[in-house]
């Protein structure tokens, strides 16, 4: 009712004001529409987002954005959003992590953006990384297909981070920034980088994501219909076994089944010369005392494409938003070139637009990593993680728990994956049936 009154007041006052010729006094504060934006992130991101919102409000004087940053990523954030949705206080615009997109969109809580995007003068879906955009599609029963229900705020591809200082001291030349090492080459390099110093074991590599090995080997985790888990195929099992052998056979990696082996910490402590992780680690690693760079993730054989998982956060509009047009304006701004240029400043993300990523906005010359373009090639071939395949991903938890048998060396990958297949497939289907 207040907005109605304000609108009427504006209609009455407007001609009078223009009649007086003092346009700048046309108090926009009273006709402003307030939309809410809820997200999470580091403190420095908060500052940058505030800046971006201020500029957005300058360009759209009729819209006011009420921004809430929820501390804590993942579970805490999602719970806060769930609570607001259930209490019918859903934010107009909110961050939708790709892993939670399925759960949220399945319940009809997000606005179908297809027509808005099609008529937008700013957003060009063709300019965006396809794998970043497509993970926010939904056709009513399958993810990654159909209409767009969110726009990517970013894409977070993975790369092989390496400690330049350690490589230099062990006399290992830095890996090529454009051609990925083959698995055999990589193991030879990691062997040179694995050594013992008193009680301290140094590793060549820490944290090899199994998806990167499986996909680069040409195998898959779930089938195209996303109804069957196919990691028990011989090719996939061989790739998983290769990951396990890094610790078991070659001794170049810490065993992921042991609770104390946090791969990221080992890299930061200088105890792992190489480490595979996402782009989002860059702001943190820029503060490290040693020199580092990035290279492509290794491939089974020369000439094969290096494929790994990428992370992403979407910007979604609540289906119950009273101001969908204004909400979309904000999404358009943040997901558009201008907003993206600002959000990229933290170093945290790769912009969702390819052409913008190829500029200094992202490459940030003079700052680590030197070969930032590695992330762009990774984004090109990257896929959404397996945890985005279905709305309910309990099956992935089941897999992550049972795979320890393979990491420990109790069973071969072939045997263990075959044995867990019926259970994982049942869990996958049971929890994702219509």
């Amino acid at each position: 009712m207040n907005t109605q009154l304000a609108a009427i007041a504006a209609l009455v006052i407007a001609p009078v004001v223009t009649g007086c010729g003092s346009r700048d006094k046309a108090a926009p504060t009273e006709t402003r529409t307030t939309i809410s934006l809820v997200g999470w992130g580091a403190p420095e991101e908060r500052v940058i987002l505030r800046d971006a919102i201020a500029r957005f409000e300058q360009q759209n004087p009729t819209i006011r954005v009420e921004y809430t940053q929820v501390p804590g990523v993942g579970y805490d954030y999602l719970n806060k959003v769930r609570l607001r949705i259930v209490a019918r206080m859903a934010p107009d615009v909110f961050y939708v992590p790709d892993g939670a997109f399925g759960e949220i969109v399945r319940h009809g809580l997000l606005l179908d953006m297809d027509t808005l995007v099609a008529s937008s003068p700013v957003i060009r879906v063709e300019d965006m990384w396809p794998s970043a955009v497509d993970r926010y599609r939904w056709n009513g029963h399958t993810l990654h297909e159909g209409s767009l229900y969110a726009l990517p705020k970013d894409i977070g591809p993975m790369a092989l981070y390496y400690n330049k200082d350690v490589l230099k001291s062990r006399g290992v030349p830095p890996p090529d920034p454009s051609t990925p090492m083959t698995w055999d080459e990589a193991i030879a390099v990691w062997k040179k980088l694995s050594f013992r110093e008193g009680y301290v074991q140094h590793y060549g590599i820490a944290g090899y994501p199994y998806e990167a090995a499986v996909w680069s080997a040409g195998a898959d985790i779930v089938d195209a219909e996303r109804l069957t888990w196919v990691l028990d195929s011989p090719e996939a099992a061989a790739a998983v076994q290769w990951c396990a052998d890094l610790a078991l056979r070659h001794g170049v990696a810490p065993n992921p089944a042991h609770a104390d082996a946090n791969a990221g910490e080992l890299f930061e402590a200088g105890r792992a010369a190489m480490h595979i992780h996402g782009r989002w680690m860059v702001p943190r690693y820029r503060k490290l005392s040693f020199d580092w760079d990035v290279a492509p993730i290794p491939v089974p054989r020369a000439g094969m494409p290096s494929i790994s998982a990428s992370g992403s956060v979407g910007l979604g509009i609540s289906a119950t938003s009273k101001h969908p047009a204004e909400a979309f304006k904000l999404v358009e701004y943040l997901a558009g070139p201008e907003g993206q240029a600002q959000l990229t400043r933290t170093g945290l993300q790769v912009p969702n637009q390819r052409w913008l990523s190829a500029t200094d906005v992202f490459l940030q010359p003079g700052q680590r990593p030197e070969h930032a373009e590695v992330f762009l090639r990774s984004a090109e071939t990257s896929r959404p993680g397996p945890w985005t395949a279905t709305p309910n991903v309990f099956w992935h938890d089941v897999f992550s728990t049972f795979i320890d048998q393979v990491w420990r060396g109790d069973r071969s990958a072939e045997e263990a994956l075959g044995a867990m297949a019926p259970l994982i497939n049942q869990t996958l289907r049971e929890n994702n049936e219509e």
Binding site: V86, E103, A257, F394, T401, Q405, Q426, E430, N431
Partner: protein
């Protein structure tokens, strides 16, 4: 006189009864309803009839696995009861530093279970933990990873559970022991009964109501075992330590399958009621309220 006193009586009783009606009975009925629906919190519940229950009984691997784990943990209850009774008998003697010992053994009962679980997580840590360090000093090259070995994790958690329950049960037994009639014990020893015979034929029957209470509350608590496992292992490795309650929590509060989780809650409630009923039936044979 009677009337106003009775009114006061009702007034006092009304407070917990109201609390039960508002905060327990309402949600209980709601969860019974939800157990027949597909309810994922973000959208209104949808009636699915017995679907959740058929899935529970026929198609869910984790129900069997977690129920078996839960039952395994119950092993700790008789062991814990025996040890706390022994402690109570020792501390019932005239000892030096009696109250110091009583305090020491009661501390775990006062301690938050989360703090205690974190403490034990460190004790069990294979690299820096207390047990691992001692084993290394004794020459064991690689002490076992207590909590990440699927075979060791349950016994390790049982051990911690026994430690956690000792103090509380010990206090109950201590109180019961002090209520054992002296004259009966004296009469028994005059008749030439040995210490063991006095214990078996006098003390044990005299404290049987307490033993029964400890057993019943222990089993009910044991079937709902959650916090310790949640803090220490999150159910791992390979769901080898996951209790039924933990699986219920994960289903309901991590994956928001609230309808299904409600069905699980009712299965557990039925189980608790059945076991408690059986215990009461069996109690007729061995509990004496003389």
């Amino acid at each position: 006189m009677g009337r106003s006193q009775a009114l006061w009586g009702y007034a006092f009783v009304a407070i917990p009864v109201l609390g039960f009606l508002v905060f327990a009975l309402g949600p209980m009925i709601a969860s019974l309803y939800l157990s027949f629906t597909d309810y994922q919190v973000l959208a209104p519940p949808e009636w699915v009839g017995l679907e959740n229950y058929t899935r529970l009984f026929t198609r869910d691997f984790f129900i069997g696995r977690t129920l078996a784990n839960t039952v395994f943990y119950l092993i700790g209850i008789p062991i814990g009861m025996a040890i706390s009774l022994l402690l109570a008998m020792a501390l019932n003697q005239k000892l030096r530093f009696q109250s110091l010992f009583r305090t020491v053994f009661f501390v775990p009962a006062v301690c938050s279970i989360v703090a205690a679980a974190l403490l034990w997580k460190w004790i069990y840590n294979p690299d820096y933990g207390l047990i691992g360090t001692y084993l290394r000093m004794l020459g064991v090259e690689e002490p076992p990873a207590w909590l990440s070995n699927p075979r060791l994790v349950k016994p390790s958690l049982v051990l911690m559970g026994i430690w956690g329950g000792l103090g509380y049960n010990m206090i109950l037994f201590l109180a019961a022991l002090q209520g054992v009639p002296r004259h009966l014990l004296e009469a028994a020893s005059l008749d030439g009964a040995s210490a063991w015979q006095r214990f078996w034929h006098v003390t044990l029957p005299a404290i049987s109501p307490t033993t029964f209470f400890v057993a019943v509350t222990g089993v009910i608590g044991g079937l709902q075992n959650f916090d310790q496992v949640y803090v220490m292992t999150r159910g791992g490795p390979e769901y080898g330590s996951a209790t039924f309650m933990l699986y219920l929590y994960v289903t309901g509060f991590q994956y928001f399958e609230m309808g299904y989780a409600s069905a699980m809650a009712w299965l557990l409630a039925a189980l608790v009621m059945l076991v408690t009923f059986l215990q009461f039936r069996l109690a007729r044979r061995w509990v004496s309220y003389a």
